[in-house]
Subunit: 337 residues, 4 copies
C-alpha cells in the first residue's frame, strides 16, 4: 500500500524531507509541495518530479488524494497548520517546535486528537543510530537501572544574530533537541531543572538577549540526575555525545567522522574533524523518521514521537530559562500554560 | 548539461547503480535498462521510473539518445560488451574484472581506445572516503616517501561453493580489489609478488580448487614493500583496513561501524560489530564512482579508473596464483597475455 | 643534597609513601617510621631497611636529623600533627583532608606559616600524567579560554558502611578529590555550588546517613561552569575522566587500562576493564607527588599543593552538602569557619 | 625463601636489572655486581647498596653465597659466561642473543643442561601485559584456531652506524625480538621464511652492509602465516603492535601512550606521541621477567624463556638474511650449525 503526501514548506528542511521521501522512503508518493515563495516550491518539484507546486498550502489540504502532510514552514505557522490539517483529515508530520506558546500547542494537539489523525513531531535525533543504540541499551537493561545521564551538544558556530533574535533563545532553538533526547534516553519525565549559563562565545549574542553557553541539570521522576552541556561554538565542529550510567554499567557514544584515517607524524597522532553539522551528522535520522511516519500511517500504528513529545520540551525550555533568571531549581509543574 | 545513460544488467550491482544514478547523481538521466531476464529489468525500471526495459542490450547500443552505458552483466560478457559499446560510440563504465583472459582484456581496451570513448572500471573502493583520505595523505606528502603498505581485507563469510567454482578463485574474486587498492594507495606499479596461502576456513573450498586464506607480499617499482591479508571468513564481520608507513609518518584506517556506542559492564568494554558487508560499508563509494564517471563524460575529462587499471590487477592475480603454486616470488613480467 | 625524612603512619598509604621514598625518589633518606601499632611500623621498616621504627611519632619530631615528615595517620590527627611538626621545625607533607573543621585547618595552616616550614597536601591526582596534560592544555592556551568543565569520578565499589559512618560522607571522602581537581584544571576559584544527589547504589548507605550518587554543578569566578559526576559503584571499574571545553577547542582524557588488547569475536569488539582502583590507576602520581615535595624542600621552592589547597575543598564539601540539603545553589562565602 | 644474586655487566641493561632486583622483585638479594669497567660497577653498587663491586666476574662465580647470575655483558661474552656460570653451579639469566654462532649457542645450552642449572633468556617483551594478553587470547581459544599473525615493530630512530656495524644486522639486533614474539604468540615453530627488505631510511646504513626496512613472511608448522614489519625509523615514535586472526575472531594491541589526553581544535583531533622507546614502553616487562626468573629459581620451576628460545630466533635471523640475499623462501632446516 502507498500513501500520497503533500509537503508544506520548501526551505532547507522541506527540501531534505522532499528528497528523502521521493528517493529513499518506501510506501509513499509525493503529490505536491507548497511554499509561499512559489519558485522554491517549483524548483524542488521540478528536480524531484513532484507533480504539483503551489504557493497555497490549502490546495494540499483540499486535495482528497493527499492523506498526509509534512509541515516544514516557519515555526510561527506550525500550530495553525496542524489545526487546519487535522480539520482536513490529514495525518501530520510537523517540524519542532510546535510553538512557543503552550496554549497554542495544546490547541494543536487537541485538534489532531479530535480529528483522529496521527501527529508526529520532528525530533529526528531519536532516529540517529547512535542514540537509538543508547536507548536500546537502557531499555533492554544492558546497563541496569539508570542513575545518571550526560548530554553534550555543541554547535560548530552560532547562527546569525538575526536568527537568534527570533528563535526563542538557546533553550528553544538548541536545547530543545537535548530536552527531547533526555526524555527519550531515560524513558522518564523530568521534574526539576537548574540552569547555569552565560555569554562566552560572542557578546553580540548577549546583546540580542540570548545566551551561548549553558549547563542544565535535570532531575527525573525515576531519580535519574542528568546534565546537558550546550555551546553555540565548538571550533572543532559539531559535538554530539551522550552517556548513560547505571547500576550494571554505562553506555556512551562518540562523534561521527567523515573518515577513520589516523595520521601519525613527528607532531602528533591525529584524525580529521568530525562531520561538521546536522545535515551531515543526522542524514540517516532524517530518512528514518520519515520512514517511521509513513509506516505508522500506512500500517495504522502509533507514531514514535507524539504531540506530547512536542509539548514537554517547550515546558522544559521555559523552566530552564526561569531557573537561569532566578538562579534556583525550578519544578516543571511551576510552568503554567 | 545532462547525459543519457543505459544500464546493462539488472542484478544486484546493476540495481544499486540504477538507483544511485536515478536518485543521487547529478547530470544524468537513465533512459533504459537491459537484462536477459526481462522481469528483472522491468521491475527496476518500474520502481525507478526508467522509461525503457528490455531483454536485449543491443537496443541500448542502437539508441542514439544514449551516450553512455553501465555494464553490470556477467563477467564473461564484459569484454565483448565493451567492444560492442565502443563500436556503437558509447562511453563505458564496466564492472570489474573485465575478463580473466589478458588477450580479451587487451582487445576490449583497444576497442575503447580506437573508438575514442571513455572506459571506467568499477573499482569502487577507491571512492571510499577512508581509503581516499589515505591516498591523499600519501600523495600530498603528509607521511613523506612511502616505505611499507599493509592491506587487511577479510570477508564476513565465504560465498557459496558454486560461486567459488566459477569465480576464478580468491585472487580474482577477492584479492583483485586489494591489488587495485595497493596500486591506488602507493601510486606505483607492483613488480613482484610472493604468496603464502592455505585452506583454513572450510575444506570444501579446497576441494573446489580454491584457497580461503592468503598473505601476499608485493614489491613496488618505487621500492615500497606491501602485504595483503585475505580471509574468506572473519566471524566478527567485514574487516577492511589499510596502513601506509613512510619516511615522515604513517596513516591507517579502521573499520566502519553501525554506531559509535560503547557499553561498559562488569564483563568488558565493548562495541557492536562493524558494518557487515560491502553494500553497507561501501555505500558512499558506489555513489561517488558513478558521479565521477558521469562527470568525466559530461566534462570530457579523464576517467579516474582506466582500462589499464582493469588490466593490471588481473596480471597480479595470475602472478599471485603462480607464486603460490611454485612457492617462489614471481615477477609480473613473467605473466604473458 | 639529601634530606632525611620521618614517616608518621604505617597504614596503607603510609606503606605506599615509604616504599616510594625508599626506592624511587631522589634526594631523600627515610630515617624512621612511626605507627601507634608498632608491629606495622616495624614490618615496613624491616622490609625497606628503614633504621628506626617506633610507636611514638614524637621521636621523629625530636630527632634533629629529620628535616621533614610525611603525615599518613588517621584524619582526625592530621591538624594536631601539623601543628606539632611545624613547631618542631619540620617540613610537612600531609594526607588529605587536613580536617573536617575549618578552625582546625586554619590553626594548622597558621602553625606552618608561623614556623616557616613547607606544607604540602596529598592531592596526588594532580600528578597523574593524564590530568597534568589537561591542565597544561588549559594553561598554555591550547583550548583558548575555558568555558566548561566536566569531571567523572566513579569508584568501582562502595567502601564498607563502617568507613562511611566516619568518613564525613561522599563529599568529603570522595568528591574532595574532584573539588581539588576542578580548581587545579581551571585555575580559578569556585564561587557557587549546586548539588543533586541520591541513594541509588545501596540503601544501607542512605541508612548510614550518606549518599552514593551525586551530580554537582560548579560556578567559577572566571565564568567557567563545571559538573562533577560521582558514583560509589561503577561495576566496570574505576572511572576517572575529565573534559575541559574552551573557546579554541577541548581536551579530555580516558580511563587507563591494564592492556591495549582488543578482541573481536562474533559477539562484539571488546577490551578488558580499566585499571580497577586508585593504587593501580594513580601509581605514578604517588611517586611524582613525593618527588615534588622532596624537591621543594631540597631546593627551597614553593610546594605545588599548598595548605590553602587543603582548606578550600573542605569548604566546597560543606557547600555541596548544604546545597543538597536545601536544594538551592549555595555560595562558598556562605560557609563560615 | 630468598636467593642471592650476582650481576655481570653494569651497562644500560645491567643497571636496569640491578635497580629492578633491588627495589621491585621479591625473594632476592643482590650481593655483587661486576663490570670490566670497575667504576660503573661501583657507581651502581653505591646507589643501590649492593655490598660488592668488582671488575672480575669470576669473583661472583667463586662466591658460594651467590646462587644465580644475571649476564648483561657484551653479546660476544654471553656464551662463554653461560658455560662458566653453569660449571660454577649458578642459575643463569642471560640477555639475548646468546651468540651469533649456533655452535657456541649449543655449547652454552649443553653446559647449562649438564650442570642442571636453570637458564632463562632475556626476551622481556613476552612479559609485556599487552602481548601477554594476546598470547592468553590465543591460548585459551578466545579467537579459535589462529590463521594469520602480524607484527609491527618500528624503532623511533636508527642506532649509531658504529653499533650497526657490530650488531649482526637488523635481523639480529631488531627482528630477533619479533621472531621470538612470533613463536610466543602462535605457540608453534616457524618452518619457512621469505624476506623483502631495503635501505630506505639512511644510505649510510646500507653502506655499513645492513638494511633498515624489512617485511618478513613466516610460515608456521601449524599452518599459520605471519608477517613482521620492521623499520629503523618511525618518526612518530616507537611503534609496537601485533594482531592475531583466527577462526573465531581476532585480537590486536595498540601502542602505549604517556597520557590519554585528546585535544580537539580547529585543526584536528589529536593526542601526544606514543611512549618513545623500549625503556619507557617495556618498563613493566623488565620487572616481570626478573620476578619470573627469581621465582623459577626459588620455587624450582621451569623458566618461562628457555635456552632453546634463545637458539631458534638466531636460526630465524639466518634464514631471513639468506632469503633476502637469494630472494626465495628459505626453510629453517636449511640452516646448519
Amino acid at each position: 500500500m502507498t500513501i500520497n503526501i503533500g509537503i508544506i514548506g520548501a526551505g532547507r528542511i522541506g527540501k531534505v524531507h522532499a528528497e528523502t521521501l521521493v528517493t529513499s522512503v518506501k510506501g509513499v508518493k509525493v503529490l505536491a509541495i507548497a511554499d509561499v515563495a512559489l519558485p522554491a516550491a517549483q524548483e524542488t518539484a521540478a528536480r524531484l518530479n513532484i507533480p504539483t507546486a503551489t504557493a497555497d498550502y490549502r490546495q494540499l489540504l483540499d486535495n482528497p488524494d493527499i492523506q498526509a502532510v509534512i509541515i516544514c514552514s516557519a515555526t510561527d505557522t506550525h500550530a495553525q497548520m496542524i489545526v487546519e490539517s487535522a480539520e482536513a483529515g490529514k495525518h501530520i508530520f510537523c517540524e519542532k517546535p510546535i510553538a512557543f506558546d503552550l496554549k497554542k500547542i495544546d490547541s494543536a494537539l487537541q485538534a489532531a486528537e479530535k480529528a483522529g489523525v496521527k501527529l508526529q513531531i520532528g525530533f529526528n535525533r531519536r532516529f540517529d543510530p547512535n542514540f537509538a543504540r543508547v536507548r536500546q541499551a537502557v531499555q533492554n537493561g544492558e546497563i541496569g537501572q539508570p542513575h545518571m545521564l550526560h548530554i553534550i551538544s555543541r554547535d560548530p558556530a552560532p547562527p546569525p544574530i538575526s536568527y537568534i533574535k527570533v528563535s526563542g533563545g538557546i533553550f528553544f532553538d538548541m536545547t530543545i533537541h537535548d530536552f527531547d533526547m533526555a526524555r527519550f534516553l531515560i524513558g522518564s519525565e523530568v521534574t526539576e531543572i537548574y540552569t547555569a549559563a552565560g555569554v562566552m562565545v560572542d557578546p553580540a549574542i548577549g546583546e540580542a538577549g540570548d545566551l551561548d553557553t549553558a549547563v542544565i541539570m535535570l532531575k527525573f521522576a525515576n531519580g535519574v540526575i542528568g546534565t546537558i552541556d550546550n555551546s553555540r561554538k565548538a571550533v572543532y565542529g559539531y559535538d554530539q555525545r551522550v552517556e548513560v550510567f547505571g547500576s550494571r554499567g554505562a553506555v556512551n557514544t562518540g562523534n561521527q567522522y567523515p573518515n577513520s584515517a589516523v595520521v601519525s607524524t613527528v607532531d602528533n597522532i591525529r584524525r580529521d574533524l568530525p562531520l561538521n553539522f546536522f545535515m551531515e551528522r543526522y542524514t540517516e535520522s532524517y530518512r528514518a523518521e520519515m520512514q517511521a511516519f509513513i509506516t505508522a500511517v500506512v500500517e495504522d500504528k502509533p507514531v514514535p514521537v507524539t504531540g506530547l513529545d512536542g509539548h514537554i520540551p517547550v515546558v522544559m525550555g521555559m523552566a530552564a530559562l526561569k531557573s537561569y533568571k532566578e538562579n534556583r531549581p525550578v519544578r516543571l509543574d511551576e510552568i503554567q500554560a
